[in-house]
Symmetry: C4
């Protein structure tokens, strides 16, 4: 029914048409509108993707995120090869829009078990990557403990949430000139820290994911809260751990 036939590429409109507000093609524009207000997807930056069964829904590249519509959403068959882009099995490719450069990174998160992956350019995330490098060097992770909001982040899949006295650790990878080239480093960080639900990208932002769409969003909010608090704590001379 959803043949990967290039003649049909732009006709599978039924894949993004639904009255259900919880359908991925409706959720992605709704989430992006909210993320725009938080400054997470300024100037077409950032993106969001949701996997449902064997379909992956992705916001397109280079559009104003707060104006995105369901009809702008790309749909991939899942699983699908990450490289080369031409090998990816698109079920729907909106005419005149470009697929997101974040596509292989989102696919990596889904391979890791996620249902939704959010990529933001949040300034708090960027500032935290700069502060960690300045204070502890390039190999250090972001670490914070003894803050209630840490309890909004899981210890790992099916391991429950972090406790107040636990230390939240988020790995930081270096940025690459081409976003797709981050995939390798993101996957390495996931392999090294299999329990993490997010990876910071130095001078760039964050990739955060979750077992459900709601968890991806609320965990990403909790992380951003902690990054902002950490920057303000640093300004006031208060240490993070």
């Amino acid at each position: 029914m959803d043949d990967v036939d290039s003649s049909q590429l732009i006709t599978n409109d039924h894949l993004v048409q639904s009255e259900d507000p919880d359908h991925p093609a409706n959720l992605i524009p709704e989430l992006c509108k909210r993320f725009y207000q938080w400054g997470w997807v300024t100037g077409t930056g950032g993106g969001t993707s949701i996997r449902r069964d064997n379909h992956v829904f992705i916001a397109p590249s280079g559009v104003q995120k707060e104006l995105m519509k369901s009809e702008n959403i790309f749909v991939l068959e899942y699983p699908t090869p990450k490289y080369p882009p031409s090998a990816r099995k698109y079920l729907r490719k909106p005419l005149a829009l470009k697929p997101s450069d974040c596509t292989p990174l989102f696919l990596a998160a889904f391979d890791h078990g996620a249902t939704c992956c959010i990529h933001t350019h949040s300034q708090w995330a960027v500032l935290v990557t700069l502060l960690v490098e300045k204070l502890h060097g390039k190999d250090a992770m972001f670490e914070i403990s003894n803050i209630e909001q840490i309890k909004g982040i899981p210890k790992g899949r099916e391991k429950g949430m972090l406790g107040f006295h636990d230390t939240l650790r988020i790995p930081i990878i270096e940025n690459t000139p081409f976003e797709e080239d981050l995939t390798e480093y993101l996957e390495k960080a996931m392999a090294k820290y299999p329990d993490t639900y997010a990876v910071l990208v130095r001078r760039h932002g964050i990739y955060a994911w979750g077992d459900t769409v709601a968890k991806a969003k609320t965990q990403c909010e909790s992380l951003d809260y902690l990054f902002q608090l950490a920057v303000e704590m640093h300004k006031l001379g208060i240490s993070w751990t």
Copy 2:
């Protein structure tokens, strides 16, 4: 009519259905939407509860506060035992939702005479608890005077509002790994400072309450304004008292 019969637990829908915008089941979602915009209930953090006659309405645990609906609200008979949770007399328990961990803390506020209790994770509140500890030690309260907005906070029940030259004092308790365990310390702080309308929780946020829903909200706003101002004053080298 509202029997505490477990077979009826999820059927007392009439308790949260009302056309009246001032009904607690309508006010709580409305307030939470606003608090989300202020960053007070980021990532499912925080919560709100209203008592009306012998009913207590509580926002559920772990939901996106800006998307909450009347039908998500828990209703308890009041008074009800605080512990153990199983002894609490629920008149309405929405299927698939968890009661808030703040429940015994809200009940403590109602025992203290409140009509509405608001719990936020406001970063300004958290930063103030950190600054007070850094400047004056763990036993110190937050103190500020000679700021007009102080007049938005009462001196105590039926004692009128604080004056411009009065000193506002908010007790600070230490956080505990489990939110429910805060209840004991909240009650002790209430007993020690019977006139206070709020208690700060170090590295966590604030519990604030009021004699009416409007007063709980506006007092909580005034406190948050003062916490933000205090942090900025500190950055500029200006003392709080």
Copy 3:
């Protein structure tokens, strides 16, 4: 037609009922909703008043400014005695609401020729009053020059707008325990600086006014922009003049 007859006090509803969005009774709630979003009227703080012909419309005391309705508006005959409050000629007094403590201050602005007066508790205004005192002492005014936004403030009535190289000067008065007692000092500042369209109140906020409602609002915005910029400039070690 609008007799000041106490039996009619709450029945002159026609004075606040209009389909015209530019009617003062419609503008005041609209403005207050906006000011709430800017943090200018947090927790029932601040207020707004508009004079039209021989009527003065005033937001009530102690209400949530973002929820205010036309029917909450007080109407005074203008001119009217400032003191004692009982001598003021109310044409409309909403039942169960208290007249604003800012009433004599608004009247002072109207006596000075204003059409609309806005009172905010903006934190930027408060911080600027604290910084001026710290840097230049209690007798100093707030002064800033060579910022484009200064051109949004008039030189004085019918004197055109300030130029880029002009110095904007806003007098600062000390706060008093009772808001009404500020009136004397506000009037003295107006007498001493007849060209000013605003007076800062130390540790409290600002009173700003304008020849039209739009001018009062946009001038108040420009001032708040300058206060915020001034605080940030100070943090970066850049002087204001």
Copy 4:
């Protein structure tokens, strides 16, 4: 059909009436509403203009930008003389509104190939011009590199976007007492830096433009993001390049 006949000046209403949301007369009010929320056009500051074929649409001077309507838009024939103002060929001049002082600056951007030009008073832009002067002197440009968001800015017309390791350079011109007098300096900066899509104005704000309306907006957002980040980086002692 659109004669520049003074008797018709205010009757060419069809030029600003369209059901198409992407019509310039609909886009400008929509954009200004958004810019108001970002603090870019506080107190009637700033402005926006769009060129379509041989028509130039401009927001008027001195209006509340968030309340602007299509019917408030001025329309010029393009090309048109920049000076004197009386030589400009207005196709539509709304009664009782003043043409924007930014008019010749917008025309300069269109002469340079732009389709949309945005002028903001963003505080981040102003602070960056002050910091550059303080750190590097009056002749220095704003420079930043190794930040992902830089990729939102083009290298120059038909040259693709900047890369992560490229340095973004934005020229800064000195402010002039009269906005129109900036035109000469803006044009000189454009001639000297033909690839730039923006020019900062010291102590004033920014002019930014784009090949399409969407690009002008998203590039302006990316620049503002970078200015804010740069100010915060400076506060944390982290260099921009």
